[in-house]
Amino acid sequence: MTHNHPRWMRLDNAAKIYPAVKKRNWSSLFRLSATLSEPVDVDILKKALARMVPRFPSFHVHIRRGIFWYFFEGKDGSPEPLPDSCCPCEPLRPEENDGFAFRVRYYENRIAVEFFHALTDGTGGLCFLKTLLAEYLTIKYGVSIPRDSAILDCDAPVDPAELEDSFLKYEGIAARGRWEKDSYLVRGTREPDGFVHLTCGAVPVEVVSSLAKEKGVTVTQYLVAVLIMAIDTMQCREVRLQMRRKPVKVSVPINLRRFFPSTTFRNFSSYVNPGIEPHMGEHSFDEVLKAVYHTMGFEITEKNLQAKFTANVRSEKNLFLRVTPLFIKTPLLKLAFRLFGDRKSSCTFTNLGEVALPEEMKPYIRRMELILGPLSRNPVGCAVMSYEGNIYLNFTRVITEPKVEREFFTQLVKLGIPVTIESNQRC
């Protein structure tokens, strides 16, 4: 079936910043991967990709420069699957990927898709990967996989709601300021060749959830508190004078679809920055946990989140900004990103939660993972996804010293959580 795609699309409200702040050696990417029970058949992967990409018109595009804004232009064909590289989420160069803003990689049993954040967020990306896997398994093994809103039917027509900019649709009346204190910056020696270290820790869901339940918090809140403790411990070691210690905050992306009835595959997420102020004194784990629990409880409400993204929508709608040519707007957006972006948190912790797959797919999929690409300022990021009883915590790092991960995983071990580590370290 052929799909009638719009020839061009505006970038959604959150996506507008990403092409502007993209650098030669950095672009905001994330990666979703699935490890199969058998080695990947590249020819079948190509066929599956060619069949399913047109069903995702908002992915079937390349980014172009307009006079006033960047925009997506529809593309023909589909990208070629590429062999995996030594480090995940290498910067995306349009000339290397036929202009597509995502790429599909394969290595042994693994299929991975790396997305430029301007295209989609974790939820949209996960739907894309699941649909790709479903098509792959259908072609390879002939299994019949039930299709729904999480695994799309590639023959069904495109629902316009999948392409909408939900930020504009759910814009509120009140807007909230973006001001926050700057956070402690994790420092270290940058890798001269741009190598991105990946350290994956697998922990059992039931152990972590029972510990979190004991403390009356969610798994995300529990793990965020451990991460804050790890970074705080590092800062205490590096900055002796208590008064000079900066706030330790962790940026936690929030899926707005939980609060607004959106089915879009484009960006529709916000964030909160729970944390502590170490210059006030030493914090125990319970105190950190309480701070995270209350901050997230207060911030993650429909009204608060709406007020937060309404501020961004207002900026986008500002007449002065709209009529400013892109070559002037780009440095302004870069400045805004520097002022309100990464520097407000010491690390990013994103949790896509438990991945649910239909029973028909489970025998063929051993593992599912989410990996964050390198962040622009902060050298360490953490992405989490659970599958079949395990939580996979993937740390991405661009500095040589694994101090955040070491502190984090050893704290988990001290809390009684068994951790299995693997990495992409060089021989």
Partner: protein, 233 residues
């Protein structure tokens, strides 16, 4: 599977050393035989462009265009090269300042500074030849050499020695004072066998005093901490 004796985490079969602390995995029951399976292909990072090397050619071309235009205009209007030499020499000097740092994969301050020094001497020589010859050898060359050697010496010390910020500040201040004295001496209008310092006393004295204060603060740990405590941003 083995555990890291240092961190207490279980390590996947793919790990030769603990990725968290670097301790080698030694399991007498499972000795390593042959190469281990890797989670990711063992290949160099592809496409990473360290530095700004790919900017060198466009920047060089951008600089060459005005040089060629001015040379051509000068030649076509007067039949010889006169004023366009100034433009060409200035852009050439700017090129030496800008292009080598862009071209180098890793910053090499000393090499770049040496190149800059040679370029400045060349530029001054061209100016001397194009204006009223005679000032380059007695004033321009020695002054540039002295200032250049001092700056290179400072850069070498900063590169190779682990100096505190206050010591660095003191050295910069002393060097600035000395350069002022040299300029004063070489540009003095009265040729005399005696060394007479005139206006350079005014920058020299505050530079030396501030440099000594910086060194004294550097020696006094308590004072340093007090200042940090009061003035931290």
């Amino acid at each position: 599977m083995s555990y890291c004796v240092n961190c207490g985490v279980k390590l996947s079969e793919t790990e030769k050393t603990c990725p968290l602390c670097g301790v080698e995995v030694i399991n007498p029951r499972q000795p390593i035989q042959g190469p281990r399976r890797r989670n990711y292909p063992d290949a160099p990072v592809s496409g990473y462009k360290g530095g700004y090397r790919d900017l060198v050619l466009p920047v060089a071309l951008l600089m060459l265009i005005p040089v060629l235009i001015t040379l051509a205009c000068d030649w076509l209007t007067s039949g010889a090269l006169s004023w366009s030499i100034f433009v060409a020499a200035s852009i050439g000097l700017a090129a030496v300042f800008i292009l080598p740092p862009l071209a180098l994969k890793r910053p090499r301050v000393l090499l770049c500074l040496f190149g800059d020094l040679v370029a400045i001497i060349g530029f001054l020589y061209v100016l001397d030849q194009m204006t009223a010859p005679g000032w380059f050898l007695p004033v321009g060359l020695p002054l540039t050499l002295i200032a250049g050697v001092m700056v290179l010496g400072l850069a070498a010390m900063f590169t190779w020695m682990d100096l505190r910020k206050l010591v660095k500040l003191a050295l910069v201040l002393f060097t600035a004072g000395l350069i002022c004295v040299c300029v004063d001496l070489f540009t003095s209008s009265e040729p005399s066998s005696k060394i007479i310092i005139s206006w350079s006393v005014y920058p020299l004295v505050p530079c030396v005093i501030l440099g000594i204060v910086a060194l004294l603060i550097n020696r006094n740990h308590y004072l340093r901490e007090k200042i940090k405590q009061r003035f931290f941003i």
